[in-house]
């Protein structure tokens, strides 16, 4: 004999309310975390893309994805590590897109005032060369370099964030800086001789 079991409407409503309450709690917790992790995502994206508009889009997308996964990533360290990785990957994908690259190059062609004390760093030409050199770095080296360049990030924090031994972080940072120096040395000489 077959039986048809109908769910009680009151029970379904209770389930929905409980779910909504849990969702609201999750959202509150995420918004608290957002104050801390929002800038991190934006900086990683900005470091890869060197474009504010694109970096905003990527950071927003990464944070939305993080929100969807937040139930599994409530632990602070794990959440930050996941967010850095997903932002970095999204930013790389965006940077590799030919269309976006064209837009970015158009933007970079315009002189952008930069609040920096270094004359050379303010040079648009050097920034372009630096951007190309960074693009040629391997993602592993690039991520370590970007995270280490962020204010308030020590090597220990980078190590914890990426789940790597401190020796590996130091080694990657050294290799990355050396490769950049080798690629940009001629440009510094040219700039200095002018």
């Amino acid at each position: 004999m077959q039986e048809l079991v109908l769910t009680q409407p009151s029970r379904a409503a209770e389930t929905e309310w409980a779910r909504e309450a849990a969702s609201a709690s999750l959202r509150r917790e995420f918004e608290e975390r957002l104050a801390e992790c929002g800038p991190l995502a934006f900086r990683v994206a900005r470091g890869v893309l060197r474009n504010t508009a694109d970096a905003e889009d990527v950071a927003q997308e990464a944070l939305l994805r993080a929100y969807r996964q937040f139930g599994r990533l409530r632990e602070r360290t794990r959440f930050r590590a996941w967010l850095v990785r997903i932002t970095f990957r999204l930013a790389l994908d965006r940077a590799r897109s030919a269309k976006r690259r064209e837009q970015r190059e158009t933007l970079w062609a315009q002189p952008v005032p930069r609040p920096t004390t270094e004359d050379l760093a303010a040079s648009t030409e050097f920034q372009e060369h630096l951007a190309h050199a960074l693009d040629e770095l391997s993602p592993k080296l690039r991520l370590v370099l970007l995270l280490a360049a962020m204010d308030g990030h020590t090597l220990d924090e980078v190590s914890a964030l990426l789940g790597l031994p401190i020796g590996t972080v130091k080694s990657r940072l050294f290799v990355a800086r050396k490769q950049l120096a080798e690629k940009l040395r001629c440009h510094v000489k040219n700039t200095k001789t002018r």
């Binding site: 969702s23 905003e56 360049a149 040395r185 510094v188």
Partner: protein
Amino acid sequence: MPCEKYQDALTDLAAKGAEPAGDVRAHLDSCVACGSYMEQERFLLKSIDSGIRSDVNAALPAAVVQRLQARLAQESAFERRVLRHWIFAGAGAAFVVAVLVLLIARPVGRFRSHAKLEPTLAASVKPSELAEGPSISAAVSNPRALIAIAKTTRQKSAEALPVISSSNLHEPEVLVPSDEREALARFVNGLHGQPEVAEAFLAHAPRQSEPSFPLPLIQIAHLEIPALEPSDDRDHPASEK
């Protein structure tokens, strides 16, 4: 050239951000070219760091946070909508499944009730079995064929299931006119395992001469009808005119 030997070491030191020590320090103090190279490397790496930091340490625009919060609100609303849709879709799917189950179960139930009325015919007399021996239509017209059916079913009744199973439902139904169906089923059921009964039942009865009762013929008396006599005209009012 001795300076070339030190240049790689000076680059490494600049990349590490470390200060020269030992013989490298001593060479730097004595060699102006290597001192200049070291300064150049430090300047280069400082420029690189400065260029990276200017990108990496940009402040997060407040508009991004606001947009993100708006998106989160949309996301929550969307989740709720999706959840409701799933609930309705689930209820609808359950209803459709229930209706389908009822529709599918109904003809089976009808067949089962029919099979209860005619268990022997449905369960033990299969079309394939009947095909081996005399056919039902032949049996109806020929009583000897019925005896053959009874013998066949007696042999196979041990193998046949008494209760109709789902596999029997896939067998095509034996087409017998509805008015003959019940009678045939009962008859075959009665013959089941007892062909001698069938033989006795179908044996030709001896012809008996029917007793005659002679009836006397009906005697009808002869009726005489006398002729009408002429009557007086004054008795009739029409003749007065």
